[in-house]
C-alpha cells in the first residue's frame, strides 16, 4: 500500500499543554544540562554535590509523574499524537525514576572507592533515564528510536566509565557494536512497517493494520514487525540476542550494571508492550509464535547458563536473561486479555526493586579498586554482616520466585495470564525453569551462611555506609511490600493498563 500523498499541515506549534505533559522529561533534560555546567565549574572535591542535584531532579521528575498520573486521567496524546500522556507511561516513569534515584544514592561511595568519581556520571545517568522515559511514552516510530538512542548512547559511555580497566573498555565496545546492530534491525523493521502502512504514528499504523486485516496481511509488514521485535529483544537481552549481556554486566562498573540491568529492561519492555500488544494486535497470530519461542529459549538458556557461573555479576546477568524470558510470556499472551500487560508491569516493578537490591549488595561490598565478584568472596558474609546477608538472601528468594516476595507475584500474574489465554505449555515451561533457577540462587544464599575455612583469606569487606544502608532498606522493604500487599501495586498496574494508548483494539477481560 503506497502512502497517500499527505497534505502538508499548516505550521502548528506545540501548546503549553504539550509541554506540561512532558514535564518529567523536561526536568531531567534541564538537570542534565545543569549538571554538565556544574561539573565544569565545581572543584573535584565537591563531586558529591552533583549526586545531590541529580537526586533532587529525579525526585522532582517523580513528583511531576505522580501529578501526571492524576492529571492524565483516561489518557491523551501530546505533540500531535507522537507522545502518550497516560497512566501507563507515568507508571513506568515511576519505576524508572525510583530505580535511578536508588542508583544515584549508592554511586558516590562506590565510585570514590573505585577511583572513578567523575561528574559526567550523574549527567549520563540522567540523560539515559530521560531516554527511557521518552521510550516509555513514545507513540511514534521515530520517537521510539530517539528514546532508544538516547538511553543507549549514554549507557555505552557509562559501561566504559572505568577508563583504566580493560574489562570495562571491552564491555563498552561490545555494547556499542552490538547495540549498533540492534538499532540497525530496529530501524530496518520500522522502515518496512512505514513503507507498508504509510505511517510512523502508532495509532495510524494500528488502524492501517486493522484495515489490511480484512484482506490479507502483507508479508513485508510481518518482516518489519519481526525486525522491530529483534531490536527490542537485544535491549531486553532475550535469547538469542543476549550474547553481550554477561560480558557487559561483568565489565561495567557495578553501579552502572545496577542501573542498566533494571532500567533498560523496564523501558524496553514498556515500549515493547505498547508497540506489540497495543499497536500490532491485528497481526497477533503472526508474531505470537516468535515471541513465545524467544521466551522459551531465554528461560532455558538463561537458567542453564546461570548454573555454571562462579561470578556473581555473570550469574545475575544470566538470571536477568531468564527473567526477560518470563516477562516475555506476558507479552506473548492474547492482546485482548489485560492480565498480560498487568503481569508485565507487576513483574517489572518487582524485578526492579529486587535486582537493584541484589546488585547494591555487590556494590557496597566492593573493595578498593576491585569489585566483589566471585562466589568465594561471599563465604561467611552472614557472620560479619548479618543484615546485608539477610537482605541478599531475600533478594535471591525473590528472584527465584518464592512467596511472600515480590518476585513470586510477578511470576504468578504472568503465568496466570498465560494459562488464561490457553498458553499453558508456556506457563509450565516457566515453572519448570524456575525450579532449576532455585538451585543457583540458593547456592549463593547458602554460601553466605557457611563458616569460612580457618586458613582462608577473608575477603576485605568494606563497611556498610549510611547511603548503602538506605538503599538496602528501601529495596528490602519494596521486595516485601510487593510480596505481601499485592493489591497496592496490582490496582495501580491495572489502572495503568486500562488507559493505555493507542486504544485500537477493544480489549476485554
Amino acid at each position: 500500500m503506497l502512502a497517500q500523498a499527505a497534505t502538508i499541515p499548516a505550521l502548528v506549534t506545540p501548546t503549553g499543554r504539550d509541554l506540561l505533559g512532558l514535564l518529567p522529561e523536561l526536568i531531567l533534560g534541564a538537570a542534565f544540562v545543569l549538571l554538565m555546567a556544574l561539573d565544569a565549574f565545581l572543584p573535584s572535591t565537591r563531586r558529591s554535590w552533583l549526586a545531590v542535584v541529580a537526586f533532587i531532579s529525579l525526585a522532582a521528575a517523580f513528583g511531576a509523574s505522580m501529578w501526571g498520573w492524576f492529571d492524565s486521567g483516561s489518557g491523551r496524546t501530546l505533540y500531535f499524537g507522537a507522545f502518550a500522556y497516560d497512566r501507563y507511561s507515568m507508571f513506568v516513569n515511576a519505576i524508572l525514576l525510583v530505580s535511578s534515584a536508588l542508583v544515584v544514592i549508592i554511586s558516590p561511595q562506590y565510585l570514590n572507592r573505585r577511583g572513578i568519581h567523575h561528574g559526567e556520571y550523574y549527567a549520563l545517568i540522567l540523560a539515559s533515564t530521560t531516554g527511557m522515559m521518552i521510550l516509555a511514552g513514545a507513540m511514534n516510530l521515530m520517537v521510539i528510536f530517539l528514546g532508544i538512542e538516547l538511553l543507549s548512547i549514554s549507557l555505552y559511555v557509562l559501561s566504559g566509565f572505568s577508563r583504566g580497566d580493560e574489562r570495562s573498555q571491552e564491555a563498552a565496545l561490545k555494547y556499542l557494536l552490538l547495540g549498533g546492530f540492534a538499532s540497525g534491525f530496529l530501524l530496518y523493521g520500522m522502515a518496512l512497517v512505514y513503507g507498508e502502512t504509510g505511517h510512523t504514528q502508532l495509532a495510524q499504523i494500528g488502524l492501517a493494520l486493522r484495515a489490511a486485516q480484512t484482506s490479507s496481511v502483507d508479508p513485508l509488514v510481518l518482516v518489519g514487525v519481526i525486525l522491530v521485535f529483534i531490536g527490542f529483544a537485544f535491549k531486553v537481552s532475550a535469547v538469542p540476542f543476549h550474547t553481550w549481556t554477561p560480558d557487559v554486566y561483568q565489565g561495567a562498573p557495578t553501579s552502572v550494571t545496577t542501573f542498566m540491568s533494571v532500567t533498560t529492561k523496564v523501558a524496553a519492555f514498556a515500549a515493547l508492550v505498547r508497540v506489540f500488544t497495543y499497536t500490532f494486535p491485528y497481526v497477533y497470530t503472526h508474531w505470537q509464535v516468535i515471541v513465545s519461542l524467544v521466551a522459551i529459549l531465554s528461560m532455558l538458556v538463561g537458567n542453564i547458563a546461570a548454573l555454571t557461573q562462579t561470578s556473581l555479576k555473570r550469574m545475575l546477568a544470566y538470571s536477568g536473561i531468564a527473567q526477560a524470558g518470563y516477562i516475555l510470556i506476558g507479552v506473548a499472551v492474547d492482546p485482548r486479555v489485560a492480565l498480560g500487560t498487568i503481569g508485565v508491569l507487576y513483574y517489572l516493578a518487582a524485578y526492579a526493586v529486587t535486582n537493584i537490591g541484589a546488585f547494591a549488595v555487590i556494590t557496597v561490598m566492593a573493595g578498593r579498586g576491585e569489585d566483589l565478584d566471585s562466589y568465594s568472596g561471599l563465604r561467611g558474609l552472614a557472620f560479619r554482616r548479618p543484615y546485608v546477608a539477610a537482605a541478599m538472601g531475600l533478594f535471591l528468594l525473590s528472584l527465584g520466585g518464592f512467596p511472600p516476595t515480590a518476585g513470586f507475584f510477578g511470576k504468578f500474574f504472568v503465568f496466570a495470564a498465560a494459562i488464561k489465554t490457553g498458553l499453558t505449555p508456556l506457563a509450565i515451561w516457566g515453572i519448570v525453569t524456575s525450579a532449576v533457577s532455585v538451585f543457583y540462587y540458593l547456592r549463593v544464599a547458602l554460601l553466605m551462611y557457611q563458616r569460612p575455612a580457618e586458613d582462608e583469606r577473608e575477603y576485605a569487606w568494606s563497611r556498610t555506609s549510611l547511603s548503602a544502608g538506605i538503599v538496602l532498606a528501601a529495596t528490602t522493604a519494596g521486595t516485601l511490600v510487593l510480596g505481601i500487599f499485592v493489591f497496592l501495586l496490582y490496582n495501580a498496574a491495572s489502572a495503568a493498563q486500562s488507559g493505555l494508548l493507542p486504544a485500537i483494539a477493544s480489549s476485554s477481560g
Binding site: L11, T13, A40, F41, D218
Partner: protein, 118 residues
Amino acid sequence: MLSDYAPILVFLVVVLGFAVGAQVASNALGPRRPSAAKELPYESGIVPRESARRRFSVSFYVTAMLFIIFDVESIFLFPWATIVRQLKIFGIVEIAIFIGTLLVGLLYVWRKGALRWD
C-alpha cells in the same frame, strides 16, 4: 505490495552486474607493466618522504570531533531561519534554548581543557 519493489530488484541486479563486470573486464583485458614508481603511494604527485604511519597528536582528533559536533548543530539554524516568521515567539524561545544548550556544551569543553593545544 511486494511488486512495488520490483524496480529496486532490477536496479540491484544491474548495479551488481556492472560492478562485477567492470572489475572482471579490466582484469582480463588490461595490460600489466609494473614499475617501482607505480608502486609508490599516491600523494597528489609529490614524492613521499617518509612513512605515513606515524603518530600524531590526539588534539587533532578532539578538535575535529568538536568541529563536527558544532558544525552539524549549526546546520539546524538554516531550516529554522526559513520559517522563523511563522514560528513567531515560539521559534525564538526554542532556538534560544537550543543555542543555550550548545553554549553550555562549549563551556564544558573549554573548562575540561579540550581547547588547549599543548
